[in-house]
Subunit: 139 residues, 2 copies
DNA sequence: CGTTTTTTGCAACTATGTTGCAATGTGGTA
DNA sequence: TACCACATTGCAACATAGTTGCAAAAAACG
């Protein structure tokens, strides 16, 4: 587990630092997406707010995590799966945000349907955000 | 034009005030979506920041406008078209955000494809955010 | 026109995110 | 292992986004 964290950092030519190890570990242990606040809460006073922001930024740049758009003005991040971490652009994402527990899931295996845009619109990336009741809350 | 503004406000049982008239007018004159900042810039010092926030909130509650999720941490709002302003829940939206000029379009006429979610996930609303190059910028 | 109710503006506050810079830590090498 | 160059961190300060309580002002309504 911990080995995989260091492995990922090395693969992306990043220095091995406490904050990066801890934050990446957090992502690997959680199945949902994390917002900055979630990370701050989980690490306590260990790291400066700025460090967390910069670490997240770095991870996004390296393609380790990706952002999830939301309507509540809090950017969330989720791990990119192996299948899409080979440097490509994460063109399509489906995410599910639970109205009840606020957990955000990255539904990698659901296929993003293609759609017919009006003439002149050239898409480069598609985000689909489905909200509703998740599988744990609907039991 | 101005008549339609007052009409809409009356239909929704809202008091006719300067801020509501001005802001609703702005939405009707613009074809794209507006963020809080766009409105503040367009109205100058006329209204307090708080008033703009509360006006937008009121419009969302009445179903006059709807929010658009985004990954850049700025909530945008767009007018709801007549077809969907009859009090229903705006379950499906497709929006297009131009990487170049940042204009956000509400593509009402594009059909949101249905998709197969994993067992236990019950969707209530679907937002699709497509980014790329818009028809004006791609000329 | 006066009363009731709604809306506004102000002040203060929380959350979110960024930048510059000095201090510290990491990686590579002798 | 010690040293050096470079990357990363923490701090302070700032910028943007959004909320809440409350008194004053404006609408609505009779």
């Amino acid at each position: 587990m911990h080995a995989q964290v260091i492995d990922t950092l090395k693969k992306n030519q990043l220095s091995i630092t406490d904050s990066r190890k801890t934050i990446l570990q957090l992502f690997m242990e959680s199945d949902g997406a994390l917002a900055h606040m979630d990370i701050e809460n989980n690490t306590g006073e260990e790291f400066d707010r700025v460090t967390i922001y910069r670490t997240l930024q770095t991870f996004v740049e390296k393609g380790i995590i990706h952002t999830i758009p939301s309507a509540d003005n809090a950017i969330r991040y989720a791990l990119c799966k192996d299948a899409c971490s080979e440097g490509h652009h994460h063109d399509n994402h489906i995410h599910f945000m639970c109205d009840n527990c606020s957990t955000t899931y990255c539904l990698d295996h659901v296929v993003v349907p293609s759609l017919q845009l009006p003439v002149g619109f050239r898409p480069s990336r598609t985000d689909m955000v489905v909200s509703g009741c998740c599988n744990r809350c609907s039991k």
